[in-house]
Point group: D2
Chain length 354, copies 4
Amino acid sequence: MLSENYRWNQMIQFQCDYNEGCHPLILEALRKTNMEQTVGYGEDDYCEMARQAIRKAVGSDDVDVHFLVGGTQANTTVISSVLRPHQGVLAADTGHVSVHETGAIEHTGHKVLVLPSCNGKIDATQIKAAIDSHYAEDGPEHMVQPGMVYISFPTEVGSVYSKKELQDISSVCRHYGLPLFVDGARLGYGLCSQGCDVTMETLAQCCDVFYIGGTKVGALFGEAVVIVNNSLKRDFRYFIKQQGGMLAKGRLLGLQFLTLFTDNLYYSISRHAIDMAMLLKNGLQQLGVRFYAESPTNQQFVVLDNATLQRMEQDFVLSPWMRIDDKHTVVRICTSWATKEENVNKLLQAIKKN
Amino acid sequence: MLSENYRWNQMIQFQCDYNEGCHPLILEALRKTNMEQTVGYGEDDYCEMARQAIRKAVGSDDVDVHFLVGGTQANTTVISSVLRPHQGVLAADTGHVSVHETGAIEHTGHKVLVLPSCNGKIDATQIKAAIDSHYAEDGPEHMVQPGMVYISFPTEVGSVYSKKELQDISSVCRHYGLPLFVDGARLGYGLCSQGCDVTMETLAQCCDVFYIGGTKVGALFGEAVVIVNNSLKRDFRYFIKQQGGMLAKGRLLGLQFLTLFTDNLYYSISRHAIDMAMLLKNGLQQLGVRFYAESPTNQQFVVLDNATLQRMEQDFVLSPWMRIDDKHTVVRICTSWATKEENVNKLLQAIKKN
Amino acid sequence: MLSENYRWNQMIQFQCDYNEGCHPLILEALRKTNMEQTVGYGEDDYCEMARQAIRKAVGSDDVDVHFLVGGTQANTTVISSVLRPHQGVLAADTGHVSVHETGAIEHTGHKVLVLPSCNGKIDATQIKAAIDSHYAEDGPEHMVQPGMVYISFPTEVGSVYSKKELQDISSVCRHYGLPLFVDGARLGYGLCSQGCDVTMETLAQCCDVFYIGGTKVGALFGEAVVIVNNSLKRDFRYFIKQQGGMLAKGRLLGLQFLTLFTDNLYYSISRHAIDMAMLLKNGLQQLGVRFYAESPTNQQFVVLDNATLQRMEQDFVLSPWMRIDDKHTVVRICTSWATKEENVNKLLQAIKKN
Amino acid sequence: MLSENYRWNQMIQFQCDYNEGCHPLILEALRKTNMEQTVGYGEDDYCEMARQAIRKAVGSDDVDVHFLVGGTQANTTVISSVLRPHQGVLAADTGHVSVHETGAIEHTGHKVLVLPSCNGKIDATQIKAAIDSHYAEDGPEHMVQPGMVYISFPTEVGSVYSKKELQDISSVCRHYGLPLFVDGARLGYGLCSQGCDVTMETLAQCCDVFYIGGTKVGALFGEAVVIVNNSLKRDFRYFIKQQGGMLAKGRLLGLQFLTLFTDNLYYSISRHAIDMAMLLKNGLQQLGVRFYAESPTNQQFVVLDNATLQRMEQDFVLSPWMRIDDKHTVVRICTSWATKEENVNKLLQAIKKN
């Protein structure tokens, strides 16, 4: 294993957006405060200051903010805190909770009610139809009741919802009393994508609860869960603890988010990732590379013939997504806050040599 | 909230062993490697090197090592991976899983079968009796079946098991086929306590699975789960992921444990905590302070009259443990790898002034 | 196994209150309606008529009534429908849910928070103290939150709560917003016991939800869950179905409870059981037999020396409850709606011969 | 509600196979033994005799037999006893556990991994592909591991697997070590269908565990779970109890299955249901009615125009299955052990009048 990994260390990695450590300013903040004594479990000053900074960023003093370590934990903690035992969560068939969390939601007793997605997204009409059809059944109590809606922003395939789409989904959810939860593991990369008309404020207006991803956007780790709906706020710290998500040295999360939400760092590093993604995308388009999905964000999905892919994998770590036929593979290429322009250029050069 | 915390920041904190950040060498390791690219989810070189270092420390190449973020997560992941649905875990009534994890074990479907503890410990005889009495029932299937044993080393009240006690418990467990799990959130402080005849090797010999605590012993966060019993190794990464414990940037855990297990750092910083605890203990004894429990480790439990406690709380943060009568309170005082000798002396001075 | 059981069949059984089938009137109702066609899942006329009869019996038109097959199922379905994930149910340490349901409550994710019982009962003061002490903790979110209260009427050791005791418990529960649930597996035997000042109406006034036991009181099987609190009514049929408790031929339950609640059958057969229990109790007292607990209901707990017990077990099936010393055993002796007076006399005769 | 039900009572019901009570011989057995005293929880003579009768019927002395009350309970108890926490059950998208049990499987923590079905069936190739594709993933631990296979015999749409199909599925399951579980809620109707080459013995050879449905085949209620695989037998009674499925008066289940498996009653009444279904099917075919699925069993799925359906619903209760266009509906028509030939003829007459 060591030898194989050793080779990876010589390679340029584009396979995900958590290859590096953290933004240097975060490391500096950890260093400066390292020997300070603070209380634990997120009740220290840094957490409180980070909460205030996030409240300002989302444009509301009336939201609860909690810091969790990772995305699966955030999804599971939020979803299992919202649903009653007989309810499930509506989600895209490609959603992270549907596929890539080892059944963490089911482990808490709830079914993920999947809806077919289009370019990673589901829409208000589908959600409405799913709810209506549940209650139209002769004996709805024989089936899992839709209890909330989960979407990702951006989605698993890099697409983003428009403000209009979000508002429509939100309207349906409110009409039926189903909380709307937005997984923002890559939130910055969505908000800073070209043409995006959604802002933090939009999320605070449309969602009942959402989270701001840190792990993939400059932090060592950490997600900030923002609870907008008052009825979901109560006792949330119990849920965090029960799910094993209450970090003893909570200040680590506070310090990171405080840094990310000081001087717009979260946005500026997100924009860098998007700039790198667009440099890559434009370059690939000019080289005639076929795209599998239209993505304005930091994840680009391209179709490579297997020979090219194999050649590329000498020097680059990419993320094969799926085989589409015997000769071609969809490959995910990720940029991030840490991506170096020279590496994007090297990648383009390498593809060009084809 | 800010103002109250602000006062705390001026105070000297002895209420727990996670008040500070991490050992400077860990911070340095994070800094040095920050912009390196690694693969995620604990499959990087640093994790692998840390695993090797731990295998060496426990004296066995044949153990699996996994890194998790925190203690509740480690306990829940291990216990729910071992038990079948109708089984529960035998534990001291004062055990962390019994009391202080918001029912995380029950949340995974399992009862904690509590045994009365003596100075925080349970013994082989009790465990044997609990198992025997289960099967002596007319219809044992109407009750939860004991499926494993959980103990803490050191315990919640700072005591440590002797090698003989551990071996006896291990014998009973093996006789009945119940895995033995040792929660080592404060493992270093137990191993380095005066008179302790237990070593890492002892644990690897007596336990089926145990963990080496990092959060409370010099790391920013992290626990290293060591699986000794082959039958418990299979698919453990699935359980980590399902419990939300698979850190994307797994290298953070690898780097920390690699640092802790280089040049015996884990032991030297643990010894410092014990030195500070003994300085405190001896000082308090000389001052005639009454002890609630006999602890050779970093947690000392003393009985203070409420007036003294109130006065102390002007300058020190302590951890009131329980009221024993109208006028007296048991107080926990913790040292750690980070405790400064001058602060221990200040504490003793302050009590003296009484 | 067959041979051992065969002997039992020759013996007179006093070990429980479900040794026989059902009251003959119930069998007759099943026979008469056997080939009628009805809709399933409890939506037939018989269920509806039984609901009406029960509403009349409890003195309220405003309660929901659901029929479930058995007691463990009823307890689990009700409790898991009421609690949120971080909550547990307060119960006597001797409570059925605490001990004799193979961790069914924990299996749904919830801790049973046990309180020490006195003659099988817990009281308002204890409940209040448990809730207060939870919130008095520094970090209550590290512990399971009390979310409801469970008591049995009569209790596991045959005692009954007085009206005053029930009202006091109810007051505390309402003050703190914790639903009160009464397990009435043997409800008839409690209500018809001597000196009992509690009625069905009392239960409907004091409880948020309770159930009327059929299995042990004349039915083949079945428990009628009565939901008083409006906020607990919603979607209850989903919970029944999810717990596997929605009987396809729901009419079997409707027919049984309709029969039991026609012409006061439920009460008259309950009174017979009490008459037999008092005949037994008085007889035993005259014989100088020592009682382990004071019970006015159909379960009597006596202390027998082991020689007597062994001799009795030649002809009678009794239920050894626990050994109290090397020479004595507590034995439970149950009467029921089906107990024959001649068998009680035979039992007394047999003890007398001692 | 009463008035609406009242109308139903005048109508002829074909909407399901649990409209009536039980076969008269069962009622007679209950009557005859009603006042006998037996021990509880399935440990009485009748249960034991029924077990022996079933062992004989399946051609193996080496199977464990347990009696449960209903189908959802049987499915949940078996599946949750087999799977480890990170595993899911492979099932047809139309399977009962996938759709109609209010997420009971998810409630125990496990995902139902759905496979697209063809005429209600899944095949060995699909199962193999699903398992292979799981392990072909880069990080399989991020997904739920296939842990067992569930199929229904007959399926939800009335089709039956051939012996060859079952054997192929069994081979794949054994190759990968995944237990095969067959839901036989309507087992008799499958085994007695025309052209069926599967027998009870086949099931005992191919499955690891299956159940013999009683509720829909002549009993008041009850399913007999047959465990073939030794490794699944241990502690099963704990699971029954924990799931609330251990009937106090277990003899009710024993008596029913003993009656069903005496003098081939189970088969003769199943054949009657099939005779009635074929009478219906042939009659409808002659009338030119279109069939939605090809079913040789007691459930027939026909396409009716909405006007006909509405007219039929004056006198008959049928089960609308789904709308296929604005003018047509798929309707399920069920026969059972209790179906009267005259009612089938009335139904055919009524359709003819169209």
